[in-house]
């Protein structure tokens, strides 16, 4: 528009459309702080090993093993991706909850319920072609996970019951429910008295991607699902009206309600979405990795997902990166125990330290003042 006769107001409006350049603090928060956090966490992890009588030599070998075990070979990358996929999926669910202001601790239970549903569909309906059966099984996981989380959302919307409590309780309920379901004759594997399900049929199994290279490579088509979901969540959050509602409700629920957003509906929707993603993570595990369900097949994915979401700052891309990092730590940690005999519980320590430092930029700044020349003090927090 180059009309010459711009009124002063129009001119002003034009100026207001200018974006300010990203400040140095943004760059520091997004790059320097995480790098420092990982570095410091690894150093502290080394100190813990030293304190427990592990020799310097072994510490060196364990960190090399951590690296080779996570990205050092095709097999290692395969393991990293296998471990990261469910973390990212469930992490996205938790992150969507955070974005809308809900602290969803219930991902673990949602993973379990979604996984159970996927398994049941996965071993039933024999004879269907894979392009029908597999989507059906995945969809079952998504739906049941969503419905299960929707309970917490509905309770919050209808009665004001705090989601932290209701999701903790739903987790505990789901553990028992899975124990029970796995002993129902039609689900339980024939001839077994312990809780274990029938095996998922081939037609509902997420195909492995690299088994032609080496049959032990477990990475499977779930990776594509995960990448699609990262894009989908990004699109939903930032490009759609629903995402706008989620974000507004998360930042200021009162203002969102006053602006005519239907808070009750948003609660239920976002919890259902979070549950659907966690349920997909569960389905991904049983259809892609485990092939059947047994008690505790969620293996803490739902709890780690909280860390992943926090670490990824509840941004879909951040969640992807954080999930890959956690997946790498998990795969590498295993190698660490095999090669250097250092318990893979060390990884838990490193993970918690990374989150601590990333969540507390002030702390990192205190530790590494020279890393931040942009005047942090001048920012009014």
């Amino acid at each position: 528009m180059s009309e010459p006769a711009e009124t002063p107001t129009e001119k002003l409006a034009h100026q207001l459309l200018q974006k300010a350049a990203p400040s140095r603090t943004v760059y520091e928060d997004l790059i320097i702080v995480p790098v420092f956090a990982i570095f410091v966490a690894l150093v502290l992890g080394g100190l813990v090993m030293l304190a427990t009588n592990v020799s310097i030599d072994t510490i060196g070998r364990s960190y090399i093993a951590l690296l080779t075990g996570s990205v050092g070979s095709l097999g290692a990358i395969s393991e990293t991706l296998t471990a990261a996929t469910p973390l990212v999926l469930a992490g996205l669910g938790v992150a969507m909850g955070f974005r809308a202001g809900f602290f969803n601790i219930g991902a673990e239970g949602q993973v379990l319920m979604g996984g159970m549903a996927a398994v049941i569909v996965g071993f039933s309906f024999g004879g269907l072609p894979i392009y029908i059966h597999l989507p059906m099984a995945l969809l079952a996981g998504v739906l049941v996970g969503g419905l299960y989380a929707g309970i917490a959302g509905w309770l919050r919307a209808a009665t004001g019951a705090h989601e932290v409590i209701s999701t903790i309780m739903l987790n505990l309920i789901s553990f028992r429910l899975v124990d029970y379901l796995l002993k129902v004759p039609f689900i339980q594997k024939a001839g077994r008295s312990d809780p274990i399900s029938n095996a998922v049929l081939d037609s509902a199994t997420l195909p492995r991607l690299l088994d032609w290279v080496d049959p032990n490579m477990r990475v499977h088509a779930g990776v594509f699902l995960m990448l699609f979901m990262v894009w989908f969540c990004y699109w939903l959050l930032f490009k759609t009206t629903i995402g706008f509602e989620f974000r507004a409700s998360g930042e200021n629920p009162d203002a969102a309600r006053f602006a005519g957003m239907r808070s009750g509906l948003i609660v239920v929707l976002v919890m259902a979405l979070a549950g659907a993603l966690a349920g997909l993570a569960g389905a991904n595990q049983v259809l892609g990795v485990l092939g059947r369900a047994s008690p505790g097949f969620s293996a803490g994915i739902g709890f780690n997902a909280i860390s992943v979401a926090l670490l990824g700052r509840s941004h879909p891309v951040g969640v992807l990166i954080a999930g890959l990092l956690f997946g790498a730590l998990e795969a590498g940690g295993r190698q660490m125990q095999v090669d250097a005999g250092v318990s893979l519980d060390l990884i838990g320590i490193v993970q918690s330290l990374i989150i601590a430092f990333i969540a507390a930029p002030l702390l990192v700044r205190a530790v590494f003042p020279w890393g931040f020349r942009g005047k942090a003090a001048s920012r009014k927090e």
Partner: protein, 503 residues
């Protein structure tokens, strides 16, 4: 006790709140401190009470320099402050609030509330305050809460009492009572500081007046020396008109019709009790009342964000009692909420996002579920420019704007839509004179364009200046109506009605 402030400067980051302020406070005298919102009055008094530490300058008490490292020091030095927002714990009793921090104790650190009650009663009698020491703060009207604040200060045997905007939430009658208390305190030899932006009050009560503008003292005078217009000019720094220009009153047809409306609070107590009224086109209806008499619940119920327990609301003849907030927006009801930060804006969102907070679903801003961010940004820039929102860019987050600009942003959002009825709750609370004038004129424009306007404000002057008709709420009921051919809008009468007196 006399206090001297010398060259006090206080900065917050890059913002200078006070610079080189000199002030003297004397026993047995009421010092009036006049200044606009944001002029630095409260900051200065927070420095004096020890809550903030000054960056430069010194405080002298009876000629001796002192240093305060926390509010405790100020209290110990005999300086007590009654804050604009009361510093009372709502779930504690009066006695508990009064003794908090200086509790009389028995064995095992146990609270000696018996002594506390006795002491509260004693102060009650000395100054004629009449407060029940066992009442819960949350059940008390604001006027009484203020007395609790005063008792709190006196209980700490303060010799200097600082009142920050003490009359903002009081009815005229309560103001009269409050002035009586102030005079009694002056008689008792206390030094008093009275901070306000209300000219007539300062002229009535102050023995000496200091005017503060942009963090600096710009003048000192005695009450008799200056007229209110001159004082206003000193305060704002330019000539101001104290009148709102208003075209003649020609009401149109009824737009909003409220019948037998009853609203309950969360604990099932009555907030609004069987209220009926209507608002017409071309008309400004003001609702006056002391805070907490149901105005907030009424506004929220009209905006569709508060459950209605009984009665009906009709808009343009259609029953909207059960209509959602969004449906009401779409019908043309706009709402400027009383607490903009809590209910009006999303502080971490950009101006652009806030500008479409309640219209993002409109065809103008979205296609199906997809947002059209280009359209949003262009409109946001347009409205920000038109409504004088001062910001470098519409991508700035709202928490970087000043209060006045935030409010202008909310007004821009609400008035740029297809509005028929504008509900404005405390539209100018906490704003500077420039912003107030601007928003007042916009409200008048809205009326003159044929909209209905409903204004709720605790500033009686504002309500009287803007409204064609005034309804007074007391304990959830509409107890009186003024203006528009009925009883004339006399400030004193309205005040009486606000206090529940039968007229």
């Amino acid at each position: 006790m006399d206090i001297e402030l010398r060259g006090i400067t206080k900065r917050f980051g890059e913002v200078v709140a006070n610079s080189g302020v000199n002030l003297s406070i004397r026993a047995g005298e009421v010092l009036g401190l006049l200044g606009e919102n944001g002029a630095g009055k409260s900051t200065m008094m927070n420095v004096l009470s020890g809550l903030y530490r000054p960056d430069e300058g010194e405080i002298l008490i009876d000629g001796k320099p002192v240093q305060f490292n926390g509010p405790g020091d100020g209290i110990r030095a005999g300086i007590g402050m009654v804050h604009q927002h009361f510093m009372l714990v709502p779930v504690f009793t009066v006695a508990e609030n009064v003794v908090l921090g200086v509790e009389p104790t028995g064995p095992l650190d146990s609270l000696d509330l018996k002594t506390a009650r006795a002491q509260v009663r004693e102060i009650n009698e000395t100054y004629g305050l009449e407060v029940d020491p066992d009442a819960l703060i949350e059940n008390l009207p604001v006027g009484i809460q203020q007395r609790v604040e005063i008792i709190k200060v006196l209980f700490r045997s303060a010799d200097v009492l600082i009142f920050d905007e003490p009359t903002a939430v009081l009815t005229p009658q309560e103001v009269t009572d409050f002035f009586k208390i102030v005079r009694a305190l002056r008689e008792a030899g206390k030094a008093l500081v009275f901070i306000t932006h209300k000219l007539h009050e300062i002229l009535e009560i102050a023995d000496r007046i200091n005017v503060l503008r942009a963090g600096q003292i710009v003048g000192e005078c005695l009450p008799g020396e200056k007229t209110d217009l001159e004082l206003a000019e000193m305060m704002v720094g330019r000539p101001v008109s104290l009148e709102v220009e208003k075209k003649p009153y020609e009401p149109g047809e009824v737009l909003l019709d409220v019948k037998d409306l009853t609203i309950l609070r969360e604990d099932d107590s009555l907030a609004v009790d069987d209220v009926s009224f209507s608002v017409r086109r071309h008309e400004v209806v003001g609702i006056a009342g002391v805070q907490g008499n149901g105005q907030s619940a009424l506004v929220e119920a009209l905006a569709g964000v508060h459950r209605i327990a009984g009665g009906t609301i009709a808009f343009e003849g259609k029953d909207i009692t059960r209509a959602s907030a969004r449906a009401r927006h779409q019908m043309g009801i706009a709402h400027i909420p009383e607490d903009r930060l809590k209910n009006g804006v999303v502080a971490n969102f950009s101006i652009a996002e806030n500008m479409v907070l309640n219209s993002y679903y409109d065809d103008r801003y979205s296609r199906g579920v997809m947002m059209d961010w280009n359209a949003v940004n262009e409109r946001a820039a347009e409205y920000s420019a038109a409504f004088d929102v001062r910001t470098p860019s519409i991508f700035e987050t709202v928490n970087h704007l000043s209060g006045g600009n935030q409010q202008k942003m909310v007004v821009a959002r609400e008035m740029s839509r297809d509005t028929k009825l504008l509900i404005a709750a405390h539209p100018t609370r906490g704003l500077d004179v420039g912003s107030i004038e601007y928003i007042h004129s916009r409200l008048m424009d809205a009326r003159d364009e044929g909209n209905a306007v409903l204004i709720v404000s605790s500033e009686l002057d504002e309500v009287i200046a803007l409204s064609d008709r005034i309804l007074v709420m007391f304990k959830g009921k509409i107890v009186a109506q003024f203006g528009a051919g009925g009883r004339p809008a006399d400030k004193n009468d309205i005040g009486l009605a606000m206090a529940g007196a039968a007229l």
